[in-house]
């Protein structure tokens, strides 16, 4: 079946029951989305489908034909990082870093649809994602930073 991932079509020859996470990691060799629990409890596997966050560990690819899948790799690269990536680097928002791609994708979904989300809204929005190292303060700072970058860019382009 065909999957649209990061704006390109991929022909995937997998059992349609296969959760997206394994297709991303094993077939497409994309590293960002991570296996954390396989149960939809921790958010380490979060990617976007049509701009909204899903747990790729419990989403079979059978559900995803004709939908736009976005992974962290699709937002930007180390040479040309997206605002959220720049923000996380500048804020040094990682300890082990394992949970971070999931956090970033979850945050990206929020900032895309609610660019002026308050701190309380950001915190509530991130509830499904776990961080065991205790990097929460930095993650919040990084998201605020990304928010500032994104709203400035928007205002700049509208000016």
């Amino acid at each position: 079946m065909k999957l649209n991932i990061n704006n390109s079509e991929h022909d995937v020859d997998m059992d349609p029951r296969t959760p997206l996470l394994y297709v991303l990691r094993d077939d497409l060799k994309l590293n960002a989305a991570k296996f954390g629990c396989g149960l939809g409890q921790c958010g380490a596997c979060t990617v976007l489908v049509d701009g909204e966050p899903i747990f790729s560990c419990v989403t079979p690819i059978a559900l995803l034909a004709d939908k736009q899948i976005t992974t962290l790799e699709g937002l930007g690269t180390s040479e040309q990082p997206a605002p959220i990536q720049r923000a996380f680097i500048e804020a040094q928002a990682a300890q082990c870093g394992y949970c971070i791609p999931g956090m970033m994708m979850r945050a990206q979904a929020l900032l895309q649809k609610n660019p002026h989300a308050s701190d309380a809204e950001i915190r509530a929005w991130l509830e499904p994602n776990l961080c065991r190292c205790g990097t929460h303060m930095r993650i919040l700072r990084a998201i605020h930073r990304a928010q500032a970058m994104m709203t400035t860019a928007q205002e700049g382009s509208q000016g």
Partner: protein, 494 residues
């Protein structure tokens, strides 16, 4: 020529337009005068006096055992659920209750003098509970279910008062109600009360024993179960002749608690006690939606009271007819058979073949196999493992409503609480996929007729930003083996 409608005949008008107009005006004035008179009489009759404000009783002056009793009753009454906003302080109000007539916001019932009920006397409090009237004489709306609370005894009202007056005072003003005229004139509730309020307190039914009456008192009174589980008429009152025939709450179906209970396995008092006090029952699933709050609160209620409630509700459901045990047995055998872990494609093919849905539905089978089977076919017991779907009321019930809610929103993690977590699929499935899945589950796991309203349920559920309550679950010990376990053992020995 004017047509006169008074006698249905067309005839010549002997009076003339000017006279007719004057006569019409005079009749109108008379009519309005009579209306005003009636309204005035009504208003005078309905008027309730304001009761004198008091200073809140000092801390430590109230008997602590009375407060404790009040707390237990408040746990059954779920006061906090309606009177505590999601990010608000306890009992400070502000929860918007959607009714067909508009949104009504719960009030601040902390003992704050300015914005709460801090200057309500015990009499004023009881009048609100018994008659639905506030301290200042204004009528309350039955979104506050005083039509149930009226049954609460004087002693229990005292205990509730003691509890409420010893909460932390919070200065908070809830939003104004959003009701159209004339409903925003509180006085009209006097008329509603006339028709639908049967003032209490509860009177024992001598045809039943003490335990039954205890259960009845709690269920019909402070527990106000019928407020969700009984259908309502066009005036928003519960239909007295359809008690416990099923209702709705916050977008969830509140299943019938009478003989038409749709649960695949029958409810009994033990299962209900377990469900109400621990938030799950082996043969039924976990409490979710508004029942999650109820089960969570009942954890702090007196367990004797919970048992009495369960016994009364079980009595309402009754034995559901002579065929029920057979049906239950069939369900159990079916459920046991379906509980193998491996979901190979061979299993899939076999399952697809047994579908009763004539529209085939390979896609629904695939979605189930990929998204659901991992947890719902796994070996892990309730409440943390996914329920065996053959036992699910959500799939067997009269509408797809609750199933759609759960699939879309899941069971979110509860902070610092041992509670089952289920991911929501709201962003992973579009409406078409949801409908296919729902039809497949209905066909595969029940022998009931297909739903006719799935598309409506889906549309409505998706548009309502359903706030899913986090479930407070039981202690981590494994649950005692339920009926399911015994039937499984039997099935394996057949």
């Amino acid at each position: 020529m004017l047509q006169s409608v008074w006698d249905g005949k067309i005839r010549r008008d002997p009076i003339g337009p000017m006279m007719r107009a004057k006569r019409f005006a005079r009749n109108a004035v008379v009519f309005c005068f009579i209306l005003a008179l009636v309204a005035g009489i009504f208003a005078i009759a309905a008027w309730q006096p304001a009761l004198a404000p008091i200073s809140p009783p000092p801390a430590g002056s109230i008997d602590s055992s009375l407060i404790k009793r009040g707390a237990e009753l408040a746990a059954i009454g779920d006061c906090g659920v309606c009177h505590t906003a999601p990010s608000g302080r306890e009992f400070a109000g502000g929860v918007g209750i959607q009714t067909p007539f508009g949104t009504i916001y719960s009030t601040n019932i902390t003992p704050d003098e300015k914005t709460g009920i801090g200057n309500w006397s015990e009499t004023a409090f009881q009048r609100a509970m018994r008659h639905g009237v506030r301290r200042d004489g204004g009528y309350l709306y039955p979104a506050f279910p005083y039509d149930h609370f009226t049954l609460v005894s004087d002693d229990d009202d005292k205990a509730l008062y003691a509890f409420v007056m010893t909460r932390e005072p919070v200065h908070a003003i809830p939003p104004a109600n959003e009701l159209p005229f004339p409903l925003n004139v509180r006085l009209v509730m006097a008329g509603w009360n006339l028709a639908f309020l049967h003032p209490g307190p509860y009177r024992a039914d001598t045809a039943h024993d003490e335990n039954w009456n205890r259960g009845a008192y709690l269920v019909e009174g402070v527990g106000h179960c019928g407020a969700c589980h009984t259908p309502r008429n066009f005036l928003g009152a519960e239909k007295a002749d359809q008690k416990f025939a099923g209702g709705e709450a916050e977008g969830w179906t509140a299943y019938a608690l009478d003989a038409s209970s749709p649960a695949p396995m029958p409810w009994n008092a033990d299962a209900l006690t377990h469900y109400l006090s621990l938030g799950f029952a082996d043969d039924h699933g976990v409490a979710r939606g508004p029942m999650a709050d109820v089960a969570s609160d009942l954890r702090s209620a007196s367990q004797d009271d919970v048992r009495a409630i369960a016994a009364y509700v079980a009595a309402q459901i009754g034995d559901q007819g002579p065929e029920r045990p057979n049906v239950a047995h069939q369900v159990a055998v079916q459920a046991a058979r379906g509980k193998t872990v491996a979901d190979t494609s061979a299993d899939n093919q076999a399952d697809v073949k047994t579908l009763r849905d004539p529209h085939g539905n390979d896609e629904g089978a695939q979605i189930y196999a990929g998204a659901c089977a991992g947890c719902h076919k796994g070996p892990r017991a309730l409440p943390y493992g996914g329920i065996n779907l053959a036992l699910s009321s959500g799939i067997a019930g009269p509408s797809a409503n609750n199933l759609i809610n759960v699939v879309l929103y899941g069971l979110p993690a509860a902070e610092a609480t041992h509670a089952p977590i289920m991911p929501g699929f709201i962003n992973a499935m579009n409406d078409t996929q949801l409908i296919l899945l729902a039809r497949y589950l209905r066909a595969r796991f029940t022998n009931n007729l297909p739903w006719s309203d799935i598309a409506d349920s889906v549309r409505e559920a998706r548009s309502a930003q359903r706030a899913m309550t986090a479930q407070q679950a039981p202690s981590p010990e494994p649950a005692p083996a339920g009926t399911m376990q015994r039937i499984t053992d039997e099935a394996q020995h057949q």
